[in-house]
Amino acid sequence: MLKRYLPFIMAVGIGLSYIISGSSPVISSWKATLDKWFLISTAFAVLIGTASLSQVHWRNLRRPDRRIYSVALGIALYGTILLGLIQTGRGAQYQILYNMTIVPLEAAILSQIAFYITSAAFRVLRMRSFEASLMLVSAAIVMLYNVPIGAAIWPGFPVIGKWLMNIPNTAAMRAITMGAALGGSATAIRIFLGLERSYLGGGDE
């Protein structure tokens, strides 16, 4: 009962008081306090996540097919934590570890995007329907607008390309952004009213 309702009551109470503190000068200092609490609770959430992850990989050690991956994860996780505790994040070895592993690996993964975007563009730009044809023509004009050769071929490409980007594209993106903002508020209201409780980890109940 307490496990179920205490987090919910805390979420509703703190959420509502946060909204009110943004509107009234009487309790505006409460907002700053809550912001500090948020940072502290986020740190604890990382701790819970790490503990839960360790638990799962501890269990994995009993399964020979998964053991090697769990050992690798454990060494990487606790080795980095230990090095960070000894040297802080600015330590020379800690920086080397980060710059020599994470940075080049992420760059290598990011480089795949060019190929994937090409295959996605090929799929979208096939002229299967009127809408797809419209998309193909618009994409071609916008591409020519973004390269110097476009203006050299025909001076109208930059004009049309700029219009496509500034008028229809901006209008559609703003509509989506406004819809998303209203949807986000709707989710917040659902949480405050207790209609959305899945974040407590127990389905819709």
Partner: protein, 259 residues
Amino acid sequence: MPIFSGQLIVMLIQVSVAILIYFLIQHAKAGHRLPKIRRLAGLDAIDEAIGRATEMGRPVIFANGSNGLDDAQTIASFPVLSYVAHTCARYDTKLIAVSYVAPVYPVMEAIVRAGYIEANKQTSYDPVSTVRFIASGWGAAASALQGTMRRERVAACIYMGAFFAETTMICEVGASLGAIQVAGTASTAQLPFMISSCDYTLIGEEYYAAGAYLSKDVVQRANLIALDYTKVLAICLILLGAIMATLGNASALTSFLML
């Protein structure tokens, strides 16, 4: 209670929305008919995707993006995960729910376990292989997700949440595997990639409505309808502002809204 300048109308709108929601919930509980909600093909397709995975005997993968519990997009993914877990458990379909944010992982684990318990299939729930923390950060996660999808030969991919540069990579891998892909996000920069690679995409507000839409609960539906009325009000205000700005007289409306 004193109120900051420009916050009065905002507070009045918030209170009005809460009253409207309460009224519609009571209306629904009293057995009155609620207005119909338009069908969202993307959410209806989740059943189809899980059904296909069941027929093929291949797993369903669920990913909820790169953001933490402080993002409404992550919170909005949980009811969908709950629904997917419950449906997969009911049909004995293998589910792989992946997280790449450490604090989100235990919440996902609890939701999936609850889904299996609700379906009375708690013995089928494998805590090690069902919910997986694959990596931290989008780069490593993209690599791990691609590998998982290819090794497990997933038949259905459900992406709900805030995604970043990994979107194209994972969606294209799913498309190359011939999997049914259902995506939902409010990240406008990633929407074009999802639309181009996935079979169904929930755009912006549709994504936030997913939880209430899937629940089939009358209270949740009443809430969704009340919030749609609020959206109508917001659209009316936008139109009014656009007309008044075109006529060169938007200051009166701005002054009113900034009370």
